[in-house]
C-alpha cells in the first residue's frame, strides 16, 4: 500500500469478497462488515497519502463475535442473541481503529464461548468451525472463526479471546500463531464476559511478529475496564531479542510428548522441540505442582459464567442454545456452592506460587500447543483421549495441565505452529512466561519462526 501497488480500499474490497466467498466453507464468518471496512479503508488511504507509517494502517482484520462493534450485530455465537446490537466499539476494536486498521468481519465463535462445556463442534450459531487444512476436521474453539479465518488466509489477523484454551486450541489446530496476553494487559470493555477473573483478549495471526504489532495496538490502559493493568506492550529491539534467545532458560518436560501426544502428532511435535532447542538451547526440566487444574478452572468459569448468564438460563430463550450438553452444564453450574468457588479461588494462589517456583530457575515453560491434531467435525469433544489436561493416572502428568494452570494464574502464552502430523493437520508448541513477559515470549517465537517455515504454510483451497 505504501508503494501504491494496491490501495486500502481495494484490499478491503478483496478481503470482504473473499470472506463472503470462502468464509462459509469454514463457517468462519458471523458477518462481513463491508460498509464499515470501506469507510475505514478510505480513511487509511487518505492517511497513506500523508505518508502515515502506522504499521496496521489499512490492514483488514476479523474480530471474534464476542466483541461489540458498531455496524453489526454482536451475537456471541448464540441463537438467543442473534439480533443483539451493541452500538459501541469494544475498546480493543476502538484501539485498532485508532491504529488505522480495517475491521472487515465479525468472525464466528462457539456459543457463549463454550462456558457450559459443549459436546460438539456444532455448538455455534454459524455451525461447526471447519479447519482450513481439512474441512472435515474442527477448527478448535471457542475462537473458531478467528483460527480458521487466519489459517485459511481470509484475513491476516483476527482478535480472539481465551478463558481457558480458546486462543490456544484454534491456533494449534489451524496452524496459526496466537498470543494469550497476561490478564489485564488488554481491556475487555465491550467483550462478552464469561469469566471476570479469567477472560483475556488477544491476537491470532500468521506470525509472532504480526501478533506483536497487533498487541502493541490493543494493550494498555482503559478507564472503562477496572481490571486493565494500565501496562503497555513494546517489542524487544532486535539486539535484545537475539540476546534473549541465547540466554533464555526453558523449562520442558519430555513426558508432555512421550506420554501424551497422539500417534499422528508425536513425531512433528518432537521435531518442533528439537528445532526450538537449536535456537534456544538452555533447557531444564520442571513440572507444575500436582493440583487439579481442570476442576479448578472449570469451577471458576462455570460459577462466574452461570451467574453472568443466570437470566438467560432461567428465561424463555435458553432452549435456543445449540448444544444440549452446554445447556445442561450451564444449568448445573448455577448450583456450584460458594464454598467450592472460593476454595478454587484460594487455590489459584497455590497455582501462582507453583509457577513462581518454576520461574526461579526458568524464564519460560515450553510445551505442546495441543497433544493431538484437530478432531473430526462430528467427534464428541468429551470422548476418550480428548482432554490432555486430565491425563490417565498411568501417565506422568508433566505440564499437560499448562493451559488450565496458565489461565488460572493469569499468565501469558504464545502458541505457534511447528509442523504437521501424519494426518496432514497442523501441530504447534506453546510457551508460557511470568506475568507481562510477552516481549520475551514473542521474541522467542519470532526467533523460531525466522529459522523455520512452518508458519508460512498455507492450505490449498
Amino acid at each position: 500500500m505504501r508503494k501504491r501497488v494496491i490501495s486500502a480500499v481495494e484490499l478491503a474490497e478483496e478481503t470482504c469478497d473473499r470472506l463472503a466467498r470462502v468464509g462459509p466453507r469454514y463457517n468462519a464468518v458471523a458477518i462481513v462488515m463491508r460498509e464499515r471496512a470501506l469507510a475505514e479503508a478510505k480513511r487509511a488511504d487518505a492517511a497513506l497519502k500523508r505518508r502515515d507509517r502506522r504499521p496496521l494502517l489499512g490492514i483488514p482484520y476479523g474480530a471474534k463475535d464476542l466483541l461489540a462493534a458498531k455496524g453489526a450485530p454482536t451475537t456471541w455465537g448464540a441463537p438467543p442473541y442473534r439480533d443483539q446490537v451493541i452500538d459501541q466499539d469494544a475498546t480493543a476494536i476502538a484501539k485498532l481503529k485508532r491504529a488505522g486498521a480495517v475491521l472487515a468481519a465479525k468472525v464466528a465463535m462457539v456459543e457463549l464461548a463454550g462456558g457450559g462445556g459443549y459436546r460438539y463442534p456444532s455448538a455455534s450459531l454459524q455451525g461447526p468451525g471447519r479447519n482450513p487444512w481439512n474441512i472435515e476436521h474442527w477448527s478448535g474453539g471457542s475462537s473458531s472463526g478467528s483460527g480458521s479465518a487466519v489459517g485459511g488466509g481470509l484475513v491476516p489477523y483476527a482478535l480472539g479471546s481465551e478463558t481457558s484454551g480458546s486462543i490456544g486450541t484454534p491456533s494449534a489446530y489451524c496452524g496459526v500463531t496466537g498470543l494469550r496476553p497476561t490478564y489485564g494487559l488488554v481491556s475487555r470493555h465491550g467483550a462478552m464476559a464469561l469469566s471476570w477473573t479469567l477472560d483475556k483478549i488477544g491476537p491470532m495471526a500468521r506470525s509472532a511478529d504480526d501478533c506483536a504489532v497487533v498487541l502493541e495496538a490493543i494493550a494498555g490502559p482503559d478507564a472503562a475496564d477496572p481490571t486493565a493493568s494500565g501496562r503497555r506492550f513494546k517489542s524487544l529491539d532486535t539486539r535484545t531479542a537475539a540476546r534473549a534467545a541465547k540466554r533464555a532458560r526453558v523449562a520442558f518436560a519430555e513426558e508432555d510428548i512421550e506420554d501424551h501426544a497422539s500417534p499422528a502428532a508425536k513425531r512433528a511435535l518432537e521435531r518442533g522441540i528439537e528445532e526450538f532447542q537449536k535456537i534456544v538451547p538452555k533447557f531444564t526440566r520442571a513440572t507444575l505442582p500436582a493440583l487439579p487444574f481442570g476442576p479448578l478452572v472449570s469451577t471458576v468459569y462455570a460459577a462466574e459464567g452461570s451467574t453472568i448468564f443466570a437470566e438467560l438460563i432461567e428465561g424463555g430463550r435458553f432452549e435456543e442454545l445449540v448444544d444440549t450438553r452446554q445447556k445442561a452444564g450451564l444449568r448445573a453450574s448455577l448450583d456450584i456452592r460458594a464454598r467450592d468457588y472460593l476454595q478454587a479461588m484460594r487455590l489459584r494462589v497455590s497455582v501462582s506460587a507453583g509457577f513462581n517456583e518454576i520461574f526461579k530457575d526458568a524464564d519460560v515453560i515450553l510445551s505442546v500447543g495441543r497433544t493431538i491434531t484437530a478432531t473430526p467435525i462430528t467427534q464428541a469433544l468429551d470422548s476418550p483421549g480428548m482432554t490432555a489436561s486430565n491425563p490417565q493416572q498411568t501417565k506422568r502428568p508433566g505440564n499437560t495441565g499448562l493451559i488450565a494452570a496458565g489461565n488460572l494464574a493469569g499468565l501469558p502464552a504464545i502458541f505457534f505452529p511447528c509442523g504437521f502430523g501424519t494426518d496432514g493437520l497442523p501441530v504447534g508448541l506453546q510457551l508460557v512466561g511470568p506475568q507481562f513477559s510477552e516481549p520475551l515470549l514473542l521474541a522467542l517465537a519470532s526467533a523460531y519462526q525466522r529459522a523455520t517455515d512452518h508458519h508460512t504454510k498455507r492450505p490449498r483451497e
Binding site: T197, L291, P295, T299, D335, L342, A344, R346, V349, A380
Partner: protein, 60 residues
C-alpha cells in the same frame, strides 16, 4: 501439596452403566450435576494450611 479428604466429602460410589442415549437431556443433566460434584471433591481434597495462608484469595 498434601492431599487429604475432608469428612464432609462423599466419595463417589460405583454407578450402574447409564443406558440412556449419550445426548439424552436428562442424562446430560445428571452428568453435569455429577461433574460439579466431582470437581468439588477434587477441590476440597486440597489442603491449605491456614496458619501461613496469604490474607486473601486469588486476585487477578
Amino acid at each position: 501439596m498434601k492431599e487429604k479428604a475432608r469428612k464432609t466429602v462423599t466419595a463417589p460410589t460405583a454407578q450402574p452403566e447409564d443406558t440412556r442415549p449419550i445426548d439424552d437431556p436428562a442424562r446430560l443433566a445428571d452428568e453435569a450435576r455429577a461433574t460439579v460434584e466431582k470437581n468439588a471433591i477434587e477441590i476440597r481434597k486440597q489442603h491449605v494450611p491456614i496458619a501461613t495462608e496469604p490474607p486473601t484469595v486469588y486476585r487477578p
